[in-house]
């Protein structure tokens, strides 16, 4: 068997004919053309989905006085909540559950966010109080200008848990 195979290989190892040389020459441009087609296709796919550019765009959420301390205000169309903590600080949080992306609801009587999908729950500051959610609700950039609260709903920031540095306070 092995001897037979060796013979075969020897036959193929004949000196190069013009035909086999030309065949090899084609491989170069052929590969190049293939890469070009692939590159154009991938580029097409990457840009075809009409991605909206995430320009930092702050939307007005309301006057500072509209938010009472220790309260949560939902902004359903912007898909976020504004929590005003008991010390008067502001937090804007995405309503997307960090487990699988369902929209969490604010349960007024129990003072917590509850996810309808797998019943994860979160404190008013976004910290997880019961699993399966792996981390606190995503933070959204919030600024206060001349007593008006503005939120950038397009730039969620991931965080493990709540810390005081995330809170925006009134400058007084």
């Amino acid at each position: 068997m092995t001897k037979h195979k060796k013979n075969k290989i020897k036959i193929e190892e004949q000196p190069e004919s013009r035909r086999s040389f030309l065949n090899k020459v084609w491989i170069g441009p052929g590969t190049l053309a293939g890469i070009e087609v692939l590159g154009i296709s991938i580029n097409f796919l990457l840009h075809s989905s009409g991605k909206e550019k995430d320009i930092a765009s702050y939307v007005v959420a309301g006057n500072v006085d509209d938010f009472k301390p220790n309260s949560v205000t939902p902004f359903r169309s912007g898909r976020f909540y504004i929590s005003r903590l008991s010390d008067g600080g502001f937090l804007a949080m995405s309503l997307k559950c960090t487990h699988l992306g369902c929209s969490v609801g604010w349960n007024e009587s129990e003072n917590k966010f509850v996810c309808p999908c797998h019943s994860s729950s979160f404190e008013i500051n976004g910290n997880v109080t019961s699993a399966p959610a792996p981390r606190a609700l995503d933070l959204l950039p919030l600024i206060i200008e001349n007593g008006i609260v503005k939120v950038n709903a397009r730039a969620p920031i991931k965080r493990q848990r709540f810390s005081n540095s995330q809170v925006t306070y009134l400058e007084s």
Binding site: H99, G105, P116, C117, H118, P132
Partner: protein, 410 residues
Amino acid sequence: MIPERALKFSVTWGLGGMAALLFVVQALTGILLRFVYQPFPGKAYDSIVYLKNEIFFGDLIRNVHHWSGTFLVLIVFLHLLRVYFTGAYHGKRQFNWVLGVFLLLLVVFSNFTGYLLPWDQLAYWAITVSTSMLSYIPFIGDSLVEMVRGGPEVGTSTLLIFYNFHTGILPLLIVGLMSFHFWRVRKAGGVAIAESESGEDNKIVTTIPNLVLREFVVALILIAVILVFAILFDAPLMNKANPAFSPNPAKAPWYFEGVQELMLHFHPLFAAIIIPLMVITILIFLPYFKYDSKISGVWFLSDKGKQTSKISALIGLIITPPLILFDEYFMDVSTNFNSLPPAISNGLIPFLITLILLTGFYQFTKRKFETNKEETIQALFVLVLVIFIVLTLISIIFRGEGMALMLPWI
């Protein structure tokens, strides 16, 4: 020309033929639906309402497409089980098994991409939940989710991508693979049948009319069953998708509910990524293990195979519900092992325990029943299969609001 014994219904249950028929039904009803459906978030739902209310028998066509899609997933899965349990994956059939597994995956993806198209609350949140599972893949998860959705959230791009896959790419791939699959069956000499001891059994008959007639009867019955389902049970259509409100409970499509149930007990990295990938990989390589006997055409290999399969099924049936109840009510991993990251305390550790238990089961079966390798693997296969089915059924039937366990009749 085919052997007469291959015609016996219990050799194949006609499942492969049924799957092929259902694919044709899907293609035909799908083409019709495409003339009405508009793949844009603002229009998709309304186009389906229009279809239901204004078009003569539009509702029926949609229902047939829905039920035939549901049956297709089920029947392709049963077909896989039939092929496995008759050992029809040795020798020339090895590679065809692999093609079959890929066809199953394509069928599931077809159903999954179609699930989003009605753009109702059911569709929107099922796809949101299911695609979010990908985000638990380390390093590339988040960008993968964005790629699948065409953006950070399920939206216009997602619908277009899913529509394109559902009505273009996936059907084409299925047609291609299906032809290959059929051709390999022919190359293997038809369906797998047991070797007969006496030569008298090996009567050869013509394909027309013997096989064709039988396939035709099965096809007619199946079409009748689907029509009955389509007339009696409407394909679901909830309210129009609303990204701000998740319905409670938000469940994945039914064939992913086993995975969703698993996610309540394991960290998502293991429940949604590692375990399913492991199962699929093992499934693909199943024909390539070194087997002792390579019996094919005999259900469950042997009498011992039948016995061990029954015992495995029973074990799976008995242990799964108590384990779920135990985990639901008595285990609170997040408080028990607070010092460890959840991917380890709620993922790696229970995963390793499960693997050890399964290995133990394998060794136990081998020692206790003196099974050969094929029979032992079969027993393990049955166990995992039954656990998967129980998980799926529990999630479909016994999971209510907030995915808490409940009794559906109360």
